[in-house]
């Protein structure tokens, strides 16, 4: 059984014990422990159940590569599933719970799956559950969802209690990995005066060298590391970050680094994670290597661990995985584990070596310590249920039929050799070479990922570059299966990917079934697709597949390495963007007033506009009707500040606008307004609005609320990239002005009451004129335009005085019965008048002619944007859907977007249609539902009754009518 040793542990502070709970049971660890070390130290070998077979699982590794030991951490607002115990630092009061078991970790019903393993081969889900289709949705999926999966998701009601942030950083050299190679690279760059960021994913620097007590530059590794860190930290332009992992390398030297600031101090007033968005000239990957497991029957049992991890636990945390620990290997390095165990008094019954003979210096030292070395041997199978009780051995070159010996032990350290961590090299296209001697892929320096200058921007150093520091050791023996010719029963219990429960036999079956591509095999078997992304299983799986396909490993190749290296939190990806600043919220100068009056909001792009102002006890529909009635009978005011306001100025401004608008703007007289349409080069309607000519060379173009930035960019595009010799400036003044529409029969009286220097009388200020002056003492520009059919003025004032004007209008308007109205009343009133709305009547495929707006298209102009597009056959066809008004026979409101079906099906088997509803409202003015729609040859079908679909599968009959439902003669707006 695993346990804490009486002395030692270079990372723990025995003076600071820390209590934590695992599945509710209180345990004790020490400051400096990882949760893995603390669990093993407390004797907890079984930590979870596997994904598919619910096999008992323990801790296999000591770092980011851990496949098994995932737990749910924390509770309530800080609960998080699938956290690796090996990368979780212990803190007092930590609460962890095991996953994927029911009813308990010790007794799990799902483990029955393990007994039925013959029925769960590779691709089982694909094969079994695909047909009949309905069974998937109603039967298979719910059952699988309940019994499979890893941790449970946090409760929907909880909100992450922590805060997160990001930071942009720039450097000449980013070094990923704080082992010896990384520290050397960082020091070298810093000494050369470069700006350096050095990151290390764990809380400690030094990598393996400090664990194995190696010497660096004639100094003990521990002391050397401390000296380098001290030097680097004092150098200007050097940033050293621990608990920070480079999660991905992207184009042109971009890298993301994930800093876990407060995971080990939850509740601290700090951001929990910080995502570093780094742009580096060069990236040095000093990410080390990961030890490979060996594939033998029962290699997933709790107590079977990587040999290097065993060493880490012993040296760093004074934890032994057992009282008696056997070692199995194909290389010399694992002998270090035997020596480390021996040094702290743990019994090592034997080192089992697959090689014919173990002759190097390390085996000699092991033998000298009195430890047995069994050569040319293999683990036939591991004995035990929820923990290792022993190992049965056989000859390596056999099928495992003959057991040569059984050893008693309660833990097993295994080493199948090492694989460089080439992820960062590979993320952005770096290619790999197969190293025959070490049986691993390493970076091919001739084919690095390329930067903006076409040169490589990633280099790998140390073990990540395949320099394992094993010079002088005897060659390793590639071992992909143990014993080499293991029988089917053994192969079917030899795990490749313990997290996703993929075995040697599964990969072989996939090959048998014709899966020749490594990418397909990965998806079919799910090998390497778990949260550890196959850090331990990748090479072993490739080797098995290559063997089954009868081809060398490099020919099989690897699957694609994709970021992130290990999972990063969604919080870090969101950064500060949550709650009120999840996205920009654009506020008009009158926003606070609306909010204080309980406005119900409508998002328009990033703007938030009042939809209506419900009074106590009013529904939204009632509020909208009241606002319309008050406006049509007295006076209403609308915050129209969001309207785009683009000033177009210069000697060529008129000519430019004639190209942008479908009608002629150059002939507009100073002091006048004109409605205009803009199309894209397809001829499709893109935006509309009123244009005012401010002076001989200056026009003010109003755009739709959502269109200001888009149209501004559109204008700049044409000016900069097509007509760059035209003398035109465009200035976006959208936000310079608050704009308030004053609408209704009492509008003039209300404005006149505010006083000022403008003559607002009908004679002096006719429809479609504009004036500049003061309303009271507020400088204002007034446009006499109407989107409602009423007497109407739009008043623009400096934004900083918008609220003041609004409040004056409300105050002065009391005697006239003024009401603020929102966007819904605006929409209903424009629909009553048959005015189109960009985005309702248009959808990017509608030309102005479809909407009866042919009158706004110049016949005289030789050219304008969209003119050529409108001349295409399909655009001039008589077969188009065109705008009509629609009145239901029963007075009801048509469903928005409803289609008018025709008998028959189209080529895709869909119902044929002849039209659709584009705008539909209850009109309080008319007391019934009104709508607009696009109908096949609509204007020629006035009076016809057409059926529209409703939500319940039936139809609603509507009569085709003129789209203008209210005051067609325009008498009301022209008074």
């Amino acid at each position: 059984m695993s346990h804490r040793l009486g002395t030692g542990g270079r990372l723990i502070d025995r003076a600071r014990p820390m209590d934590f709970t695992f599945n509710g049971k209180t345990m004790r660890g020490y400051a400096g422990d990882t949760l893995a070390a603390a669990l093993l130290g407390a004797g907890q070998v079984l930590v979870g159940r596997s994904f598919k077979y619910h096999r008992p699982r323990g801790i296999m590794a000591s770092g980011a590569e851990e496949p098994n030991a995932l737990v749910g951490l924390g509770e309530g607002q800080r609960y998080e599933p699938n956290q690796r115990v090996t990368t979780t630092e212990l803190f007092p009061g930590l609460k962890a719970s095991s996953q994927n078991h029911w009813p308990s970790l010790e007794f799990d019903v799902g483990a029955i799956n393990a007994k039925l393993w013959r029925f769960f081969p590779a691709g089982f889900y694909y094969k079994t559950f695909i047909a009949p289709r309905p069974f998937w949705k109603h039967l298979y999926e719910p059952i699988i969802r309940r019994s499979a999966g890893l941790g449970r998701a946090p409760d929907a009601e909880t909100h992450d209690a922590d805060r997160y942030e990001q930071i942009y950083a720039f450097c000449d050299v980013l070094v990923a990995g704080g082992g010896i190679a990384g520290l050397k690279a960082a020091r070298e760059a810093a000494d050369a005066g470069k700006r350096v960021i050095l990151v290390e994913q764990t809380a400690h620097f030094g990598g393996r060298a400090v664990v194995d007590g190696l010497e660096v530059e004639g100094q003990g590794a521990e002391a050397w590391v401390a000296a380098q860190l001290a030097a680097l930290s004092s150098m200007p332009g050097v940033t050293v970050l621990s608990r920070t992992m480079v999660s991905g390398v992207y184009d042109h030297g971009y890298a993301l680094a994930y800093q876990r600031i407060a995971d080990h101090t939850p509740g601290a007033e700090k951001p929990r994670h910080r995502l570093w968005r780094i742009r580096a000239g060069q990236i040095v990957s000093a990410t080390g290597a990961i030890e490979r497991p060996l594939s033998f029957a029962g290699n997933d049992l709790p107590g079977v661990m990587l040999a290097s991890a065993v060493r880490d636990y012993v040296v760093n945390w004074a934890v032994s995985p057992g009282k008696s620990v056997a070692v199995v290997t194909n290389n010399d390095d694992a002998y270090r584990t035997a020596l480390a165990l021996h040094a702290v008094g743990i019994k090592v019954p034997a080192v089992i070596d697959a090689r014919r003979e173990a002759t190097g210096d390390l085996p000699a030292r092991v033998r000298a310590a009195g430890i047995r070395v069994i050569e040319d041997a293999a683990i036939r199978h591991v004995e035990g249920g929820k923990a290792v009780t022993g190992v049965a051995l056989c000859r390596f070159n056999s099928d495992g039929g003959a057991v040569i010996e059984t050893l008693s032990c309660d833990a097993l350290a295994m080493s199948g050799g090492w694989s460089p961590v080439v992820h960062l090299w590979s993320h952005c296209g770096g290619k790999l070479l197969w190293n025959e001697a070490g049986a691993f892929f390493r970076p091919d320096p001739a084919r690095p990922p390329l930067g903006a200058d076409g040169k490589g921007f990633v280099t790998c150093v140390g073990a990540a570059n395949g320099e394992l520091g094993n010079e002088g050791e005897a060659p390793m023996l590639p071992v992909w299966l143990m014993p080499a010719q293991a029988s089917y029963d053994l192969r079917a219990k030899a795990w490749l990917d313990p997290q996703n429960d993929v075995k040697v036999s599964d990969v072989q079956l996939a090959a048998q079934e014709g899966y020749a591509s490594v990418e397909h095999t990965k998806r079919y078997t799910t090998l390497g697709m778990a949260t550890d992304q196959g850090k331990l299983s990748n090479i072993n799986g490739l080797a098995i597949l290559s063997d089954a396909l009868g081809q060398p490993i490099p020919q099989t190749g690897t699957t694609t390495f994709r970021p992130p290296y290990t999972p990063i939190s969604l919080g870090a990806i969101a950064g500060e963007a949550r709650g009120g600043i999840f996205q920009p919220l654009r506020k008009t100068p009158i926003y606070d007033w609306h909010a204080a009056r309980g406005a119900h909001w409508e998002p328009v792009g990033y703007w938030r506009r009042p939809y209506c102002y419900p009074k106590a006890g009013e529904t939204h529909a009632q509020a909208v009707s009241r606002e319309i009635n008050q406006t049509r009978k007295a006076v209403g005011i609308l915050d129209a500040s969001t309207l785009g306001k683009l000033v177009v100025k210069g000697p060529d401004a008129g000519r430019f606008l004639d190209m942008l608008y479908t009608n002629v703007m150059s002939t507009l007289k100073v002091g006048k307004c004109r409605y205009g349409l803009m199309c894209n080069e397809n001829g499709f309607l893109s935006d509309d609005g009123v244009v005012a000519r401010l002076s001989e060379d200056t026009w003010l173009c109003h755009t739709t609320s959502g269109g200001a930035d888009r149209i501004h960019a559109w204008m700049e595009d044409w000016l900069q990239c097509e007509w760059w010799d035209w003398k035109v400036h465009v200035v976006n003044l959208t936000e310079q002005f608050a704009q308030i529409a004053v609408v209704g029969p009492k509008a003039r009286a209300l404005l006149e009451k505010l006083g000022g220097d403008m003559d607002l009388s009908a004679a002096a200020f006719p429809f479609m004129d504009w004036k500049e002056g003061h309303l009271g003492d507020i400088p204002a520009r007034i446009f006499r335009i109407s989107f409602s059919g009423e007497l109407s003025y739009e008043v623009a004032v400096p934004a900083g005085q918008g609220l003041a004007l609004w409040e004056r209008l409300m105050e002065a308007g009391a005697e006239f019965g003024v009401a603020p109205y929102g966007t819904e009343a605006l929409h209903v009133m424009r629909a009553e008048k048959g005015f189109i709305m960009i985005g309702d009547e248009t959808d990017g495929t509608v030309i102005p002619q479809d909407l009866g707006l042919g009158w706004a298209i110049s016949k005289k102009k030789a050219d304008f944007l969209g003119k050529r597009g409108m001349e295409r056959e399909a655009m001039v066809s008589a077969d188009r859907w065109q705008l009509v008004g629609l009145e239901t026979l029963d007075g009801s409101v048509l469903p928005d977007g409803a289609l008018a079906p025709l008998p028959g099906k189209n080529d895709n088997g869909q119902q044929e249609t002849q039209g659709r509803v584009t705008s539909t409202y209850f009109s309080p003015t008319l007391g019934k539902g009104i709508a607009m729609g696009l109908l096949h040859k609509g204007p020629a079908r006035m009076g016809e009754v057409v059926q529209f679909q409703n939500a319940s599968g039936g139809t609603v009959a509507a009569r085709v009518v003129d789209p203008c439902f209210y005051d067609k003669a325009g008498e009301k707006q022209n008074v």
Partner: protein, 106 residues
């Protein structure tokens, strides 16, 4: 994520400051053009595997459009230049040719 250098304001910044505008050096065909010309202008794009000329706007910066020669395979940036031109500068073309001798030219 690309790193771009704006020739208009001299800033080198990450892609999130910019907006891509598709293929550069398109010739506009308006009224009077044939269907084939119009189609080529509106819809036919080179989409090359290799050297590519494209439009970018420094949308969050100086607001100016500029053009960039880039390799769609390696993401190498050969250079950026002003948008007010109908073809890439000669020096840039020479530079691309030196980097990619197999390039068929603009």
């Amino acid at each position: 994520m690309l790193l771009l250098s704006c020739p208009c304001c001299g800033v080198t910044a990450e892609e999130t400051e910019f907006a891509n505008g598709g293929e550069a050096h398109l010739k506009r065909f308006g009224p009077g053009s044939t269907d084939a010309e119009y189609e080529a202008y509106m819809f036919a794009r080179k989409n090359p595997r290799g050297v590519h000329f494209e439009r970018w706007r420094h949308a969050y910066g100086c607001g100016k459009w500029f053009l960039m020669a880039r390799d769609t395979m390696t993401l190498e940036v050969y250079g950026t230049y002003k948008a007010q031109t109908t073809e890439p500068p000669a020096e840039l073309q020479a530079h691309i040719k030196a980097r990619r001798p197999e390039w068929e030219g603009f």
